[in-house]
């Protein structure tokens, strides 16, 4: 864990932050020294190095070390895969449905222009959300069940009712980014 933290901090410090900021750690703007946009993330990366650096020697020498098991790694990998696949489904299932409709009917619908129109706007959130929740439940339970699917559909429907229906100007994911 300590080594992973150190590796992440190094990537952030030497790749992510330089690529994603413009002004450096401090910025001299017209005779005035100002805080640059790289300062805060660099400080955060510094704390990660500190934390990771402490974990490596301290935790390694501590008693009762939890052992990394293959089962635990498999669970984590499974959970990450479910999250990734669900997000991809959430982002692209709406445009995919539109493409299928256009192919079948010869229309020229565009998902971006329908991202605030029901039922199109719910496709991605519904499919991706249901996939995420039902697969996560199934992973924890160790089995695929209709009950998991039922409660996933219920949870996603509840979120749509709470976060979308009452608000005119709010968009459900992924519609703000298309």
């Amino acid at each position: 864990m300590g080594l992973l933290t150190l590796a992440f901090a190094a990537v952030a410090l030497f790749a992510w932050i330089p690529l994603d900021t413009q002004t450096g750690i401090i910025e001299k703007v017209r005779r005035q020294v100002a805080i640059g946009d790289a300062l805060a993330p660099s400080v955060a990366a510094g704390f990660l190095i500190l934390g990771g650096g402490l974990l490596v020697p301290v935790e390694r020498n501590a008693e009762h070390q939890p052992r990394v098991s293959l089962r635990g790694l498999g669970f984590t990998a499974g959970l990450l895969a479910i999250i990734c696949i669900s997000f991809v489904a959430m982002r692209y299932s709406g445009p995919l449905v539109i493409w299928i409709v256009n192919s079948a009917q010869g229309g020229d619908l565009e998902y971006r222009l329908l991202r605030d129109t029901a039922p199109w706007k719910y496709i991605g959130f519904f499919i991706g959300g249901t996939l995420l929740i039902s697969c996560a439940i199934s992973l924890v339970e160790g089995q695929v069940s209709r009950k998991a699917l039922f409660f996933s559909v219920l949870a996603v429907a509840a979120m749509i009712i709470i976060y979308d229906v009452p608000f005119d100007d709010l968009l459900l994911p992924p519609n703000g980014d298309v």
Binding site: Q22, R30, R112
Partner: protein, 316 residues
Amino acid sequence: MKKIFKAGIAALSVAVMATSSMAADWTPPGPIKLMIGFKAGGGADTQARLIAEELEARLGWKFIPEQVTGKGGLNLANALKDQPNDGTAIGLVVTETLGYNMAAANAGMTPKDFTGLTTTAGFQMGVVARTDKGWKTFDDMIAAAKGGQEIRFGAMSPKLADLAYLLGKAQGVEFNIVSVKGGKGVMNGVNAGDLDVGFMAGIQAKGVAAGDLVNLASALSEPLVQSPVAPTFGDLGVEFTADGYFVFVGPAGMPDDAREALSQAIIAVVSDEGTKAGGLINKAFGGETTISGDDLTKLMASDYANAETLLVAASE
């Protein structure tokens, strides 16, 4: 010659009528993403949202407002320039974003990356102090500075900091220029006594009317509406001004009919004092100022070019 002249006028009229007719026919092909380059809840944000609300009511268009703040509007510009240019993505910034801020940041963008739609209002940018400082005129403040008093001068953008520097240079004094976040920050600083003087872009109106604040100078090319006797920056030997406007822009290459329809619709709302948006603009920004079409394109280009000159002047 007369015939050619008449034919020219006729052709021009047809072209204008055709554009107007196209604009009248245009409707957005989907919801319009309205990027707002100001923090939620402030005057500028409220202005954008009220304009959108009125356009939805009048024309049935659908707007999706979204806050894209930071870096003096450049974050918005960066996000907007790559959006589709079919009229479904527009943004509200200030002309300073497309001028000084873009030039100073060397952001890889120019005003040519955007289609100017219309300005909505200008700023009543004054150099403002508390009345109980005892300065009745700008000269009183300069006399105090020359008498050895340190003048802490609040500025809410790099451009204004440059202007404060040039103002001091022209007057033979050196201000202690303090960068502050937003006009409200400057006003709070002045009111609290942390700043002696500062730029305020209209937020000072109530304080000036109540006699608590005084406009010592106009940072514009024109005198301030509220304090017409206060000298302008030109009077004070500064060849640059803080003239600026709120401006709606879209990505470059927006079709003429979409540009025309969006501009006209926004102008109609802000020019109507009966609307909430028009009322707010009248009350908070001293009334509408609408510049659109080729005039706006020229204004954006000249602001950008002048920014380069200002940057050089302020570096000397």
